[in-house]
Amino acid sequence: MQDTLTIAGSPFRSRLMLGTGKYRDFGVMRDAFEAAAVEIVTVSIRRVELGAPGHTGLLDVLAKGKYQLLPNTAGCKTAEEAVRVAKLARAMSGTNWVKLEVIPDAKYLLPDPVGTLEAAKILVGEGFTVLPYMHADPVLARQLAAAGCATVMPLASPIGSGRGVLTRASLEIIIEEAAVPVVVDAGLGVPSEAAAVMEMGAQAVLVNTAIAEAESPVQMAGAFRKAVEAGREAYLAGRMPVRAHASPSSPVQGVVTLPQPEVPA
């Protein structure tokens, strides 16, 4: 029986979404995508550099139909800017999916809860499939789901920081209460962190810097793939209980003891 991730009615086998940023070249990116068996990839929308010949490397990798594109609104500081970029993204990419980012400051790239909710409502109203990037705030997660978002995408730690899962307790609550798939986004630095959130019950993770900036991005992509699968399978397999004390793995009966400890017969 297939374990399927469903977002906005579309089924996916992979629970590892990847960003396309920061790769040293598009060949490495393409190989990393293969190694990760990725199905959903993010892109950004940017002004064309005028008077310069365009690069087609990215578009070549993202050959039509191979991946579900997930254009983001990175760089937008307000709900209004994000709505505008989302519309450009839809025209450009041909998909109505959008990774909504409303991020007012540059140092920690943390999202604006109010602006994100406002933009999400507008975009849902205009027929977008909205996957909002958000702080790991359980109440906001509920509000975004109630507003019609297709997922919620709470952060593990600041974008590109590689600091791992700093929001564990909040993620647990978000997952417990989630009416839509929870995709943990941002800050994951190594595969074990991806596995850990999958074990908690997250539906998917999104990774970019941890792969693109690894010394060997392709090998790291494969490692993330296995870790996400491991975490998902462990979640389904049902973990052992945690105990305060030890519990022996070997039988306690039949031990070959000496008649008087320390004093051989």
Binding site: V43, I45, V48, G54, A74, G94
Partner: protein, 64 residues
């Protein structure tokens, strides 16, 4: 006229596709916004441009 955030001299009879050609923009690999109207790659009409137009010419780039 504002193109991608920068002022650009407008001239009478300037049309969108001529502008794109001048700017070396491949119109099958870019989306264009003129005012609030947005056009898809390969479906960009050859409309006349006004001096007051605000134009965005965008493409898909890497990103996370």
């Amino acid at each position: 006229m504002i193109v991608n955030g920068e002022p650009r001299t407008h001239r009478p009879d300037l049309r969108l596709r001529a502008l794109l050609a001048e700017l070396k923009v491949d119109d099958r690999a870019a989306a264009v916004m003129v005012g609030e109207e947005i056009y898809r790659p390969g479906h960009i009409p050859d409309i006349a441009l006004k001096e007051s137009d605000v134009i965005e010419i965008v493409s898909m780039m890497q990103g996370g």
